[in-house]
């Protein structure tokens, strides 16, 4: 098979998933729908964070990544800075990995 044809197909369906809802939701939306959509980002971020911190190869794994994420969360809450969250979290992770 021609790899570029497969890439083009993959690119097309990926674009469609990203684009599909943008024009559909261009009109004024009812209040509950807006409220719902406002809660989606925090839910999606949680859904990206929690498995990445708690699971390794899709199995619950306790390790230094959990306290490191907690340090990151405190930093995020105090500074609202992505950069400081990463710096504090990684330092905690490396320190705990070295100690454990």
């Amino acid at each position: 098979m021609n790899p570029w044809a497969v890439f083009a197909g993959m690119a097309l369906v990926t674009f469609l998933t990203r684009f599909a809802m943008m024009p559909m939701l261009s009109r004024e939306l009812p209040r509950p729908v807006l409220r719902y959509l406002q809660l989606v980002p925090v839910a999606i971020l949680s859904a990206l964070i929690a498995p990445a911190v708690l699971l390794v190869d899709r199995h619950l794994t306790l390790g230094p990544q959990i306290p490191a994420a907690a340090v990151g969360a405190v930093m995020a809450w105090r500074t609202r800075s992505v950069l400081w969250t990463i710096v504090a979290g990684m330092l905690a992770y490396w320190l705990l990995s070295a100690l454990l």
């Binding site: 790899p3 570029w4 497969v6 890439f7 083009a8 197909g9 993959m10 690119a11 097309l12 369906v13 990926t14 674009f15 998933t17 990203r18 684009f19 599909a20 809802m21 943008m22 939701l25 261009s26 939306l29 209040r31 509950p32 807006l34 409220r35 959509l37 809660l39 989606v40 980002p41 925090v42 839910a43 999606i44 971020l45 949680s46 859904a47 964070i49 929690a50 498995p51 911190v53 899709r58 199995h59 619950l60 230094p64 990544q65 490191a68 994420a69 990151g72 969360a73 995020a76 609202r80 992505v82 950069l83 400081w84 969250t85 990463i86 979290g89 990684m90 992770y93 490396w94 990995s97």
Partner: protein, 251 residues
């Protein structure tokens, strides 16, 4: 009729859309690019591993980088590599579609901020919207300093890092050291934690985050692919909405 009208509020009230002067555009583009920059170490590591994996299934370096540049969706590209030697093109494209269905929910949540834009702008932003740039852009909107130019800058930042790191992985091949030893995979969740802080406002967001976290972990253990992200996104925000309703009824 009046009840129906008051049921709708102008999106601008909720979504703080302010028109942008021409001089602010390039500054906003640069700001978006810089805001996404802390997320790039994770992207680089993922890209290097992808590049090595792509060579292993027989893609050339140009094809490896080409897939990244035009598809620009890491987890579905990995899935495609896993199927490359055995599956039909149709199966690979279908798998890509399923893995990327989570973008429907992301697109929907960002749509109210984009409603004043012409279709070509929406298409441009959809083209390179990644998990990372979506999170960066919508966090900026939430803080009242988002814009389409900021969003575009974030998209560009992730894209300009993603495909060259795939190319580097393909060229370096097996000589790349095992980066997972340094725990750099932690950069992703930490960056998302930093972005999530912008969205915690009251009980509804805490309920949404908590329910989504539990759902996502359970879903990741028991469901295939990326279904846990969509499931957790839908359920978490519904739970948050229910929490608001309940709180409103009590007060």
């Amino acid at each position: 009729m009046e009840a129906a009208v008051s049921f709708c509020v102008p999106a601008a009230e909720w979504y703080h859309i302010s028109p942008m002067s021409a001089t602010h555009r390039s500054a906003s583009l640069a700001r978006g690019f810089l805001d996404a920059l802390p997320l790039t170490p994770g992207v680089v590591m993922f890209g290097l591993v992808y590049g090595v994996a792509a060579r292993a299934v027989g893609l050339s370096p140009v094809e490896t980088a080409g897939m990244s540049a035009i598809v620009h969706a890491g987890s579905s590209q990995f899935a495609a590599l896993g199927m490359w030697l055995s599956a039909t093109p149709g199966a690979i494209v279908l798998t890509t579609l399923i893995i990327n269905l989570r973008h429907l929910l992301m697109g929907a949540s960002v749509a109210p901020y984009l409603r004043h834009l012409p279709l070509r702008w929406k298409m441009l932003l959809a083209l390179w919207m990644s998990d990372e740039s979506y999170a960066t852009a919508i966090a900026a909107y939430e803080r009242g300093r988002g814009s389409e130019w900021h969003f575009l800058g974030a998209n560009l930042c992730i894209w300009i890092v993603w495909w060259p790191s795939g190319l580097a992985g393909a060229l370096a091949g097996q000589s790349i050291p095992d980066l997972s030893r340094y725990g750099l995979e932690m950069v992703f969740p930490l960056a998302f934690i930093g972005l999530a802080a912008s969205f915690f406002k009251g009980r509804a967001s805490a309920v949404a985050a908590g329910v989504a976290a539990v759902t996502a972990v359970l879903g990741a253990v028991w469901l295939p692919g990326n279904w846990h992200i969509i499931g957790a996104g839908l359920l978490g925000s519904l739970a948050g909405l229910a929490a608001v309703r309940e709180g409103g009824a009590r007060s």
